[in-house]
Symmetry: C2
Subunit: 206 residues, 2 copies
């Protein structure tokens, strides 16, 4: 996890000041965060896409931590309609690269292909909730990577047919598995500043 | 954020032991986490759906922290195709409840309706990437809520037509906004143990 970003520090300070200037002690306490709370919040704010990695394997214990984080995501009606394909060998990564293309894939030390498992998906209109469930799992993995000193990028597949079929064929996945994305992961070789995407005009209060 | 769960503590201990028993000091260090890293990881593992809240408003500064967390999510081609409708008044929450139904909605102190903004979405097959982008934003908001002492639940709308139309009409949203979900948020009145959803059979190594 990166150190407290200037933006986040300012935000937390602003929250505290806002509480001080407008309300009593009780509300001030409510917006003061413990160091653990700050660390958890900052981890969300400092995550950014990492596309360049050290030539170093990710330890199996850390891979398991990423997978556990993925499966901690919420799912519609608790169906957990997902499957995770871990590519931790050079030849497997190369297979993925052949199906998904791009030199970036080939250079990743680790990839996790997050799939929907259609045997566990809901039925009817609700079937497509698997996309949201698998997306939440993907975001959890990206955030867990940032938390434990790794860097990752989400490369989308579904609903682009060519990409879905390319990955499925390259990895020999069953027809019931639909690759949502491939997350490329490793120890970061770059440390870009997270994009500032805060836009008040994206919010309506009602 | 809840205190270190027993499961997470065991996992971190297991990771450290694994490194100790199999490899040199360098790998042991790699799987040892700082307190800040642990806090960030635990926040992901301790998030769980909260459906009962104290009768207490969420401070505006905290609402802004949630929205900033949402907009910190990654989006395909950085399109940020989203809009956030904040319902922080009793009558607005009641409006949402009329469109989405359920006593749970009516009891929520705060709701954020996460929408796709079709004027910003990609075109062609890639248009549906907005669902993944908005889902990542939703998960960020759930995790930020857990981080700063709030509790939240994701109630799905899209792609269920009745729910999408019900929310859109109740809140008077433009046709270009597609409500993905309504996140109900407040200070938790319940403290359930997070579900253990870890299933090794959901993983394939290649």
């Amino acid at each position: 996890m990166k150190k407290l970003g200037k933006r986040v520090a300012l935000l937390i300070a602003a929250a505290a000041m806002c509480a001080c200037s407008t309300t009593a002690q009780t509300e001030q306490n409510a917006t003061e965060l413990t160091p653990e709370q700050q660390a958890a919040y900052e981890n969300i704010m400092t995550r950014t896409s990492i596309r360049s990695w050290e030539d170093k394997a990710v330890e199996p214990a850390k891979v398991e931590m990423l997978l556990r984080a993925g499966m901690a995501a919420p799912t519609a009606v608790n169906r957990q309609p997902w499957h995770f394909v871990v590519l931790d060998k050079r030849e497997s990564i190369d297979l993925l690269a052949s199906g998904r293309g791009g030199g970036m894939v080939r250079k990743a030390p680790l990839a996790i292909v997050v799939c929907g498992d259609m045997t566990k998906a809901l039925e009817g209109d609700a079937r497509e909730f698997w996309v949201q469930d698998a997306s939440a799992a993907t975001e959890n993995i990206l955030l867990a990577a940032n938390a434990i000193g790794l860097g990752a990028v989400w490369t989308g597949a579904y609903p682009i047919g060519d990409r879905v079929n390319g990955i499925r064929e390259a990895l020999g996945l069953g027809e019931h598995l639909v690759p949502l994305c491939a997350i490329l992961i490793g120890y970061p070789h770059e440390h870009p500043t997270p994009k500032d995407k805060w836009k008040p005009e994206n919010v309506t209060y009602k």
